[in-house]
Symmetry: C2
Subunit: 332 residues, 2 copies
Amino acid sequence: MEWNTGAVRIVILAGGVGGSKFVLGVRRAYPTAEVTVIANTADDITLHGLRICPDLDTIMYTLGGGGDPARGWGREDESWRVMEELASYGVEPTWFSLGDRDVGTHLVRTQMLNAGCPLSEVTSALCGRWLAHEPRLRLLPMTDDRVETHVTIPDSEALGQRRVVHFQEYWVRLQARPEALAVTLVGVESARPAPGVIEALQEADLILVAPSNPVVSIGPILAVPDVREAMRRASASVVGFAGILGGSPVLGMAHRLLPAIGVDVDAAAVGLHYGARSRGGVLDAWTMDSADASSAERVQQAGLRAVVTDLIMRDPATTAAFVSYAIKSATS
Amino acid sequence: MEWNTGAVRIVILAGGVGGSKFVLGVRRAYPTAEVTVIANTADDITLHGLRICPDLDTIMYTLGGGGDPARGWGREDESWRVMEELASYGVEPTWFSLGDRDVGTHLVRTQMLNAGCPLSEVTSALCGRWLAHEPRLRLLPMTDDRVETHVTIPDSEALGQRRVVHFQEYWVRLQARPEALAVTLVGVESARPAPGVIEALQEADLILVAPSNPVVSIGPILAVPDVREAMRRASASVVGFAGILGGSPVLGMAHRLLPAIGVDVDAAAVGLHYGARSRGGVLDAWTMDSADASSAERVQQAGLRAVVTDLIMRDPATTAAFVSYAIKSATS
């Protein structure tokens, strides 16, 4: 198939910061493709009565040109006056940064959710502002149901007797410092894929797994009932991208979470964790950085086609180059 | 009684902008008094999922030194970024200005209300920040129940077939331009006075009715069941202050609403509308501006003690001077 011409249907499973950079690269590589992004929502949290969906917002802002390129999340030209007020009232928590412009998004979302709109409809409405110039890009939450990643950590004086914290508390407040003993996706067993998710996977010409966190970004999407099965049965090739380069995450703190699910902090180990579709997994090909070239054979032995290239997402053009190379290699 | 020494208990019935200026003057005149402000809540509105209590907030910000002195409402040094975002999403209404700092207050309030706290407790918590330096000042909502002022206006093309609008829509969006045919206090019949309201009136040494809007600020407070009766039976003197000076409101647009309740736009007419306690009303004395000196006899004939002085609230000292003069005259 000629990937860079015509209305090829590409589905991307993605988290937030890394995921949005990856999607930017895919858009650059395949500007005429119909792209559906299925985003993780297990990081979502309600704070100060506002429903916050970090991964959806990061993708929406970044693709819509309203994101902060330096931070990688939140709005550009942001201010923090609402939060300063909350702190002045002594309202907890203060560890989660809520920008004033960002609060506008959360207010619209919260009000729509409280009025009974499912998250997928809310997301579509919000994207009406951000992605109007991108008619071939669609952003779907993995589910409209509430799924919440909790992290079990050792007892600690500072946290009293609590041993289970919301992912955001682990990630933002605790900076992933305590050992993650376990990761629990609360509610995922009874979650249903959001409208369009299964259809997108069934109808895709190509499915890409972004180099997002395998435990708390891609993991929750794959754990939504029927998603893994739809990936396995899809007629499209499924190409994954490693976020671990030379034994460390290129972004974020995946190395703090992989041990909790018994996976080594190693590109090949993550590829094997996803597994080959021919052996019950979800991938056909696994793309690793040149730093991990020596693991290619191990990946091939697990039934995956190994692709090795430079995986640093310096800018959309660099990302587009490796995405395009990987897809050609994986599907040739 | 020597009003400016000791812990005299003063209760003030007040609306927002004028009410807060009046309370500032009373604080200045009687710095050692225990002051309870009973504020109108019938202007309250829920917008963008946020519960907004304009009169409570105006009093709280003004007395707490955080209000905008030029506008008379909202926070000083305010910004409007959240609102710009809401407008960018195309979310209605855009006619009600919500400042970023103000949104912090509404978020705290809304979350506490949604958690089941009554408005009086929420107000007390918010005042913990603003009035910590004023241990002798207490701010009470007139009721914890929902009461909403609606205004009936003539049919108009612009508003489609609607003839009844929320007070804020009439006041802010329509700038009180359409004729007010009727004012309805939805829910007031079943409202209960907030905890402390009746007790404060019963225990007061002095009750003051601020020169706030008689229709939509003082009117709703008096319409809460048992409040009017408690005013009538109170052992304290009740002194009212005219907000209409020489036939026009000194602040706001009371002249657009008085006709809807059949009261002339005239200081004496408002005094007679409140009425003398000796004849079933709520006042003992009625304070009018020097511009209305010729109406003093008419007021006296209605059983009220008429006090005439300069009623322009130029600054707290000026207000303190007329408050002090009126109280001395009324209670001597």
